[in-house]
Every structure is written in C-alpha cells, then in structure tokens.
C-alpha cells in the first residue's frame, strides 16, 4: 500500500477535489455557454433588392429617405435622370444624416459632419464617404439593394 509521503502518490482527497472542481466548472460552462449564445442576437442575411417606390415619388433634384433592410437610405433623383442611393447613416457614429436642399449638401445633425451630394465626406468628424447602394429602375420602380 502506498504511503502518503510518496511524492508519486496522489492522495485520494486531492483526486476527489479535482473531480468535484472539474465537474463544477463543466456544469458552470454548460449553463453559461447556452445563456451567452442566447443573449447574442443571430445574424440576419440581407433582404436582397427592395422596391422603395415609384420614380415619380422621388423629387427631381432632391432626396427622399426610405428604409432598406431596417436601415435609412437617402435616394437622390438628379437633374440628368440618374438615381443614386446612399446609406443615411453617418460614417462617424451612425446618426441619421439629412439632405440640405439650401446648401446642396448632406449634413449630420449630431456632430456637424458634412458630405457632398455624391456622398464624399468634406467636413467634420466623418472618417469616410457614405456607403453607396446599388439602384436600379425597373418599369418605373426604384429598387435598392443593400450590401452587408
């Protein structure tokens, strides 16, 4: 029978302690992991192309805000007939930007960011241009495709 003084002998108490501790850790993990995964929201794929309205609903040489995949989008109908869409979320901290018809620019009301009408960041804290979205006009319907 091995003695307790033998360095190669692991006392039964230590083995049981490790087993109980390991079981408790495994039990805690089994509880915490599903809870952590549960509170983390699932990723949703993009909704694909979204019909945002008829062309005539968009003011000529102006902008209109629409929702695409739960995101606000500014759709411009330019003088030359071109239709462009930009994410209306400021690239700084995602305040919803507004088109100023008077100053012909896009402005962020929160932190004084300014973008040109083609979405380029020209003043204030925005670090990059607004995200542009793909626009197609099909039989008078304006269709915007969001890319995630």
């Amino acid at each position: 029978m091995a003695s307790n003084d033998d360095p190669n002998n692991v006392p039964r108490r230590d083995v049981l302690g490790a087993a109980v501790g390991g079981s408790a850790a495994a039990f805690a993990l089994a509880v915490v992991y599903p809870v952590a995964r549960f509170v983390e929201p699932p990723s949703r794929p993009s909704g694909g192309p979204t019909m945002v309205g008829k062309l005539e609903e968009f003011p000529l040489d102006g902008a209109k805000m629409v929702m695409v995949d739960d995101r606000p989008v500014l759709v411009f109908r330019l003088q030359d007939g071109q239709v462009r869409a930009f994410s209306a979320l400021c690239t700084h901290l995602q305040c919803v930007v507004a088109f100023s018809a008077e100053r012909r620019q896009i402005e962020c009301p929160c932190h004084r960011g300014v973008y040109s009408m083609d979405g380029q960041n020209i003043d204030g804290p925005p670090p990059r241009p607004l995200d542009e979205l793909l626009v197609t006009v099909n039989e008078g319907s304006v269709i915007v495709t969001a890319a995630r």
């Binding site: 805000m65 979320l89 901290l93 305040c95």
Partner: protein, 398 residues
Amino acid sequence: MSAPDDQQPAEATETAPAEEAHPGHASTRPAAPSVPSPPVPQPPAPQPTASRSLAPVPGGAAGWLADRLGWDGIEAGLGKHRAPRRSFFFYLGGITLFLLLVQVASGILLVLYYRPDPAHARESVEQIIGEIPYGDLIRAVHVWASDLFVACLLAHMFTVIARRSFRPPQELTWLSGLAALIGGIGLAFTGAILPWTEVAYTQARVGSQLAGRTPFIGEWLRRFLRGGEEVTIGTLGHAYGFHVAVLPATLTLIVALHLFFLFRKPVVRADAGDQETMPLYPDFIVHQAAAQTGVLVVIMTLAIFAERPLGPAANAAQSTPLGSVPPWYMLPIHAIVRDAPRELLGIDGPRFLIGATCVLGVVVAALPFIDRRGSKITSWLAWFALAALLLLAVHALE
C-alpha cells in the same frame, strides 16, 4: 535599567485606548522606573459613545418580531460601527441607494402599463402621463430619480477618489462600487431608450455604435446592445429586458456585496472618538433617514414643477433632429467625439477615445493597488478631471 516585565501591564492598561489608536507608539514608550512611584491621577481617556438600543421591550408584536429577526444580534453588529459626525460626503452612498430604491418602486408601477414594442412604446408612456391617475407623477419621479441616481453615483465615486477612501483594505468595496457605477449607467442608458422617441432612437443608435469601438469586444457589444445588426424592435426588447430584470437584479447583488465589504472593512475605525464620529446605529442611520427624506422632497418638487417632455415618436426614416445631444452624463464624450480630430495617433477618433477610456477605467479600478497610501496627487488629479469634464460638458452645449 529597563523595567521588569511584571510592571508593564499596569501602565499598558491605562494607555490602552491610545495604543489601539496608534499601535506603533507602544515600542517607543520610555521604560518605566524600577522604583515604584506614587500613582499620578490621569484624566480619563475619551471613550467613544456606545450606541443606544432601540430594541422593543419584550412582549407584544414588536417584541415577537424582534425575537424572530434576532434584533439583538443585528443591533450588536451595527453597534460596532461608527460614522463621521460632520461629513456630507458620507451620506452620498446611502442617498444613492435610496434613489435606486425609488427607481425600483416607481419602475415596478410603470411596468404595469408600459408596452415594449416600437409601435406602442411611446403611446403607452403617453397613456401613463395623460390617462393613468398620478401616472405623470410616477413617471416624472422615475425620470428625476434616474438622473439624480447617476449624479450621486458619480459624485460618490469622485468623493471616494478625492478623499482617498479607496486605500487598502477597501479594495473590494471600491471594485464593487465601480461595478455598481457601470450597472447604474447601464440602467440609465437602457431606460432612456424605452420611450422610443426621437431622442431615444438616436441614443440607442449612437450609444451602441460608440460601444462598438470598444477594443476586442466592440462588434459583439454593438450587436448585443442593438439586439441585432440594426436599431429595431430587437433593440427595444433587449433594452427592456435588461432595464427591468437583468440590471436591477445584478445591481441588487452588487450593492449587497458593496455593503457587506463596507461592514467587513469599515472606513471609520470602531475606536474613533466622539469629537469626530458618532455611532452608526442609531445616530447616523437616523441622520441618513433625514437626508433621504430631504432627497424625496427634492424629487417630488422636481417631479411636480420641472416638466420632462416626452418628445416626438421615433421614426427610423427621418434624419436625426438638428442639435441632438446625449444625456447630460455623456456630454463630455459628446464634446470630444464632435470636436476631436478624425484620427488620433493613426487610430479612428472615437475608437481612440473609447480605448483611452477603457485604459483609464482599468487604472481607476486598480487605484487601491497602485496608490496604496493614498497620495495627494490622486486627489488633485480627481479635482482636475472634474474641472475638465465640467468644461467639456459646457462646451458640448455650445
């Protein structure tokens, strides 16, 4: 010739209170003469006043309750503690706890009518204000208590740093207090989202986006706060769940731990004299109750006379209102993210700010381990930081 050992106890007994207060002095005391001298009358050393008992007399309902609660034991436990006699700062913790209780009580009432979905959230708050008897009062009390709660939490933390009360052995009290501060700000943040007004929507969007710049966990945190990729019904659901269940339960646990640590390692020594301290029970607790009554009067006055308008409903397809500003406690951060350069040290401005805030938070949390003796520099830095934050808050409103 040194004094024989058998003569020490008599003198030690006389000077016992002083030695307890300054144990290090015992070894420097001059040796007693070997020839016994006639005893010199000494004025009695000041003894701290024992706490007075408020225990009910045996018999009757109060006596029965006291017996079942073990009131004698509770009273004896409280009787060992003392509190400063003239320090307003010492009341801040109790006032903060009281404000939390006011929020819990008024919040439980509001939950009876509030509807946590974007289509009905603002409408239900409007109904509480306009149709439910005393609904406007209950809602205003909740909103004002929330603001005062955050203010008292911050003031409490500031005074603890400025007075260097974080020093060992207060490490766990300090850390649990910081956890309570984070929980309290979380409570205020989620609560401000619930009415689903324009302001609430903007706060949810900008707050979660800012949190998304946190190093390492930012993206996860952003999605978690939003309940998904975007600010939608999921955001409101998450904010509601955390505001009414997760955070109050967590805060209750944290506050209980905070109080336990405080009683385990009191800030004021039990042998402190009557000049500067008083018994915690009943004296300080009665004073604290009076202070809390005053706070309740302030809340009710504000709730009745200072209107907190609800604001227009959130509309995701509308631009953020011009000049939108966050809640007052976020104004310094608003000023920095608005006016700071786009990049700092080659890092995106908001990311740099949040990263720096996290580093600062770790340093503040580690104060009892870094500044173990409580340097005056820490105190001055606290005052400097307060002045800077106030200036930034004023600047944010320009």
